[in-house]
Point group: C2
Chain length 785, copies 2
């Protein structure tokens, strides 16, 4: 690292002025973007939108990181946490040329600069926050709180990467962000990269002060030392003073990071390090207008968005805007053509050293396919349906174990799970790897190691965010989760799905591995946990996202689960949701049948039906392991009791196969749909989740009103699996009764059959309550439900 002279600070300051100038330009201007003539109302955009407040700080950090890269050659990923930071980040990616490379129409000249300004927060343009459109970003600045968790996800297994993560003081108030500081307890300096958090305190959110900004430095230091960091402050409102502090502090923190890593790597041993972090206190809307009409702007919440409004209408304000913009001296920053002058251009790194062109930020460029074992090797022998019992996820665990082994060298696969890997029966993975911690390991611990590849933390937010960061930088992973509690990350999933949709529309962004969820410990088998653990609603959130991105699978047994999982691990740029129980359950399909079933998405299970390739009287549909069990049992009851009734059983493993082709790429052809469900036979459909998904998916199919769906109807408690399906009217008897009711030619036999089923149901209930025989109120309550 060279010694930092005053001259370099002058240059840094000039570069920063250029970035600030462009940030203001994006917010205000549609013409005269170089201020070659005095500002006139017609140069101002018709509607002023955008966020100035955070921009100067973000640009300050950017230009100083550029300096560090130039001096050290470090690979630095810039994560911009503060909301609506696009004016600054886009300006910087434009100044260093990357923006024009990916969006050639926004060229590095006056005309390009005009387009840059016009497109910002404009119809058909770009949003006011960092997004997939922004080269160099893996993080959307829309929904706040995930910058730091994304940063750590990116750093895992990327030993040469330094992630500079700017955390805004607004965002810092969110739970997920506060929960992310402890990620250093999982960051291994030997094998992982580093994260340098830069907490940017500019004092205000939209309207009120932030909690952290009102804390004294001593309290802040205590707090972050408590989190385990070594804290460095950079503070002030005098640019040159802040530049000098910032440069020195960046050098120092960079050196500390290098030392931590060096020690861990030469000693081949790691423990939890005291990583450095920076707290940067600068005024909100720094270098902007100081006040208007005696009311202060700079340094207050009034600088949050557009600090001067009505400039088009008010000549005085227009003049103030012009003075403000001219204070950056654009004539000394850009040449006549609007290009940054060479002596400033040379401050930015070149090629892929530019943060905006960093390959890590376009993870598809680094993507290596996962080496997968032959999933058929793990097949269970199922010669006859319904004769073998097994725990499907336990079997899957062996397959996952071997993925760890096969990809040991590449180090590009991890499990992320809220302390449930064993509970979800995936324990086989611990034969080859461990849970990860950087804290002290005690003799009484099990399967715990500093280099473990199973990331367990009791935070669905961290699991999700780490995995997103890991995937977007080109790696692979799986998030196994209790079904009910994955809804904790509903909104994070939604933002990721939106990111993927947008990224796919940008040809320069390369595909990354899909985000794979394994939802187990599901609604139907919360025998002791009860109602709070019964919630299949995540799929309702997923199914609404863009059909090109989302896939939902309900493998009914172990072999189908293997086949589906293998398919998902090979896919790119999707979100795959796989719902599969962990409890011992009957197995239905041999591996050959499982593969065929998965390929088709839904099949007629002829061995379960009684229609013998004829037009059925009624169809039992099912999706999900427990619904499948009940539907098969219903078919069996009907075969026994009403042998002349022609029943067909159709199992749906790929949920979106039900969708009309026009609405989802997996939608089965009309031909196959008719082949399976006929054009008009009544369908009694047992569904794992809430019924509305099925009602919607079959809308547009022939006669959707004939689909009678049973699913979870929010009747839950601490009870047996069978009682759960009874409470929700999805039991085999309920399905069978509904089926018979729907067949006109059975009209005269319905009453007898219903009596039969109700008797059987009562017997079952008695059995369920056998050891509660002295609590008749419970028994009665259950039956009268």
């Amino acid at each position: 690292m060279e010694n930092l002279s005053d001259q370099i600070f002058e240059k840094i300051n000039a570069y920063w002025r250029a970035a600030n100038f462009l940030a203001v330009g994006q917010i205000y201007l549609q013409d005269n973007v170089l201020l070659k003539e005095p500002l006139k109302p017609e140069h101002i955009k018709p509607r002023l939108l955008g966020h100035w407040g955070t921009s100067p700080g973000l640009s300050l950090i950017y230009v100083h990181l550029n300096r560090l890269i130039k001096d050290t050659g470090a690979a630095i990923l810039y994560i911009c946490g503060p909301g609506h930071g696009a004016p600054a980040i886009v300006a910087n990616t434009y100044l260093e040329g990357t923006y024009s490379e990916v969006f050639p129409n926004v060229s590095q000249n006056e005309e390009g600069m005009r387009k840059l300004c016009r497109q910002f927060s404009t119809p058909g343009g770009i949003p006011s926050h960092v997004s997939a459109h922004t080269p160099g970003s893996i993080h959307e600045g829309g929904e706040l709180g995930y910058s730091l968790v994304h940063a750590f996800g990116a750093a895992f297994d990327n030993p040469e990467l330094l992630v500079a993560c700017v955390v805004g003081d607004g965002e810092a108030e969110t739970g997920p962000l506060e929960g992310s500081w402890k990620s250093i307890a999982f960051l291994n300096p030997k094998r992982d990269g580093a994260v340098l958090p830069i907490l940017h305190l500019n004092g205000y959110k939209i309207a009120g002060p932030t909690v952290l900004s009102r804390m004294k430095d001593a309290d802040l230091e205590e707090l972050f030392k408590g989190y385990g960091y070594e804290v460095f402050f950079v503070e002030g409102d005098d640019p040159m003073s802040v530049h000098k502090q910032m440069a020195v502090t960046l050098n120092l923190t960079y050196q500390k990071i290098k030392n931590i890593q060096h020690q861990a790597r030469i000693n081949n041993s790691a423990s939890k390090a005291k990583w450095p972090m920076i707290i940067l206190r600068t005024p909100k809307g720094w270098t902007g207008p100081k006040e208007w009409d005696g009311v202060p702007i700079e340094g207050t919440f009034r600088a949050h968005q557009v600090p001067l409004t009505g400039v088009k209408e008010n000549p005085e304000k227009l003049k103030l805007l012009e003075n403000w913009m001219r204070s950056y001296e654009p004539q000394n920053l850009f040449d006549q053509n609007g290009r940054l002058i060479p002596e400033l251009e040379e401050l930015a790194p070149k090629g892929n050293n530019r943060m905006s062109a960093l390959v890590y930020a376009n993870g598809g460029l680094l993507f290596k396919s996962l080496v997968l074992p032959d999933f058929k090797k793990y097949a269970l022998d199922v010669f006859t349906p319904g004769t073998v019992e097994a725990e499907s996820t336990r079997n899957l665990g062996k397959y996952l174990r071997d993925i760890f082994t096969l990809n040991q060298e590449t180090q590009n696969f991890r499990l992320f799970c809220p302390d449930e890997t064993s509970s979800n029966r995936l324990e086989a993975v611990f034969e080859v790897t461990d849970r990860c911690t950087m804290e002290e390991i005690l003799p009484k611990d099990e399967n715990l190691a500093h280099d473990g590849r199973v990331m367990e933390v009791l935070s669905e937010h961290l699991c999700e965010g780490w995995l997103e960061g890991y995937l977007l930088t080109g790696r692979h992973g799986l998030f196994p989760c209790y079904e009910a509690f994955v809804t904790i990350v509903d909104s994070m999933f939604s933002q990721h799905a939106k990111w993927i949709k947008t990224a796919r529309e940008l040809s320069w962004r390369k595909p990354v591995a899909s985000l794979n969820y394994l939802l187990t410990s599901h609604v139907w088998r919360q025998d002791n946990n009860g109602y709070s653990h019964q919630g299949p609603g995540f799929i309702d959130t997923v199914v609404n996202k863009k059909s090109s991105v989302i896939r939902i699978y309900f493998p009914p047994d172990a072999n189908t689960l293997l086949s589906v999982m293998d398919h998902c691990f090979r896919s790119k740029d999707y979100v795959n949701v796989i719902v599969a129980g962990k409890q011992p359950e009957l197995q239905w399909l041999s591996m050959a049948d499982a593969i065929a079933h998965c390929n088709q998405g839904a099949s007629n299970w002829k061995w379960a039906g009684t229609d013998h390739d004829q037009q059925p009287d009624v169809i039992l549909g099912c999706a999900g392991d427990v619904p499948t069990l009940e539907a098969v049992a219903a078919a069996w009851i009907l075969r026994k009791e009403l042998p002349d009734l022609k029943v067909r059983l159709v199992n749906v493993i790929d949920l979106m196969a039900l969708s009309p082709v026009a609405y989802h790429p997996h939608g089965m052809s009309e031909e196959l749909f008719l082949d399976l469900f006929t054009a008009g036979a009544p369908v009694i459909f047992a569904f794992h989740g809430y019924v509305r998904i099925i009602h919607d998916l079959v809308h547009g199919r022939p006669d959707p009103a004939r689909f009678h769906v049973r699913g979870f109807m929010e009747e839950g408690t601490t009870t047996t699996p069978f009682d759960m399906v009874v409470l929700n009217q999805m039991s085999r008897y309920h399905l069978a009764m509904e089926a018979v009711k729907r067949v006109p030619r059975m009209h005269n036999r319905v009453d007898d059959f219903i009596r039969h089923c109700e008797t059987k149901l009562k017997e079952h209930q008695v059995y369920i309550c056998a050891h509660l025989d002295d609590m008749p109120e419970v028994k009665n309550w259950k039956w009268s439900e």
Copy 2:
């Protein structure tokens, strides 16, 4: 407070032993619950479920808080954060008699004790975590992370209440919990009660160690001092030593709290206080079996759930269990009838002083109706539909302002909002109250005060959790939120809806105020924020919850919004979701019409239609403000272009009115449905959210396949409101084209009409892109979409 003698510690210890004995009994026994004879396999439950690990610590805290209440008369609410803590908490509520009062069959004798044990984690019984069934609780221990935020919500405006909040070290890893510590920045010692956090470090989650438990005391102290607390440690594994420390520490912390409050109250001025907290370190599964087969249990993750399994089958293990249970000396704790002996009974507080009988924990007992202004006073004059423009939420702000004024004395109403009160145009409230902070207030701040009643924090988790705690202790509130970001609390909402459903089934729990959401800044008007801010999915989560609990409203204008809000503030035990835009928009209904419309849930807007009370050719349905605008405009286009087409316009304000009566209490009668939608006319329905809700709701209505729904199809970007509806094919032209296509007698005029609409659409597109005229690629992209 009396001096604590050794004798009292012996008694406290005995009481604790009784609680521990009952916790073990609940996990293991179905008979011989007093151990009157040697344990036999048949005394053991058929399936062993439950969580021992956290129980001894929870009971320890309980018995010590009892002592504090006896000595001081303090009103203490016990919030049990650790998951699956029911064995301990239920045992304690049983020992002090409350449990038998609310569940008389579980009486305070041997038979009752047998039922107590049998019902635990048993079919038809109670869940393994604290829930609505548990007297004295306002907090479900199922989904982890919300104990502390509930505690603060309960403490706001309850100056005499002390909330003792036990935070588990597992739960402490969640983002929402970590985000909750800063709640003291909003807790006013003058007007609010206190929260005493007791962080219980027992070392392990299900399988691995917790992050906090592995930290050194010095680091923990630094962290929590950084958060602003004064930290007191209670540590050990020797019961008598821990008892003494705990008693002294509780006295000390109680005194500190009293001092803080006293100072603030006599000086009539408050600032952020250094509130005390306790860190309690005791072994997981303390007093349980030390080891089995040489493998340690107590103090390890193996004590998390059932520490000894297979006791029914293994006589040696059965003996160990018996020894363990006898180590509590039940014969010295309970009399022959199974009742706690009098000298221990007298340790517990009596009547409503018992934490399990605290009125605050059954908020309906304290409930006072909100004094509401006459909402009609705030009506906008709307003589002719579609002639006045207004911002509906800005108008609502005046109504909310006056609610603050009218309930100033009772101090039982607050707004909870992530720093968006002004952004959501509810600014009028700041005429009478302020944002709340306990941090320093600077001259440049606006509408900020220590006693402000608008709770702004950039955390949807805190807003939601505070409000839940506030409501469950008998008060009122409103959560205005950006629509897209309320999905951050999907899972919290779900748990609250489950709580309400369960509480309503318990006659001893009294109704509380509804949880009211105002979702604004919605999907259709994110003109500059773009795709990340466009997400109407919260209603999909809500609509799945129990129909007896949830209500969803789409007021299309200002007067309907007032009427709906007034209705919601008067309701109890619901979750009401109100979706209403904040942007200037056309007004449709006079106040009289608005009230009638709200009462019916959905109406035929005759002034918009052209069917003149005849059978319409086609019906335009709509729900939501933007869809209503488009549907009305579509009717206008059709009236102009195809005057002989009979079009009806039906606006739905109460979404659940669409539902068949059998599925939701608000479902409109079949008669009204036929009256509005006829039996067979095609319906083109413009919906605010994703289409699937409508497809589901009309399933079961006559001919649901005739409903053709347009809604948000995940096409979003930074663009104009009109372009948004175009991108999602819900524009007036799309609706009109679809309508004409669906009317057979229009067959020969369809092509002309479509050409007309497409021409108009192109003109509109050009208009949208007018100031982007030099970016043809954007223009083309938009049109070819």
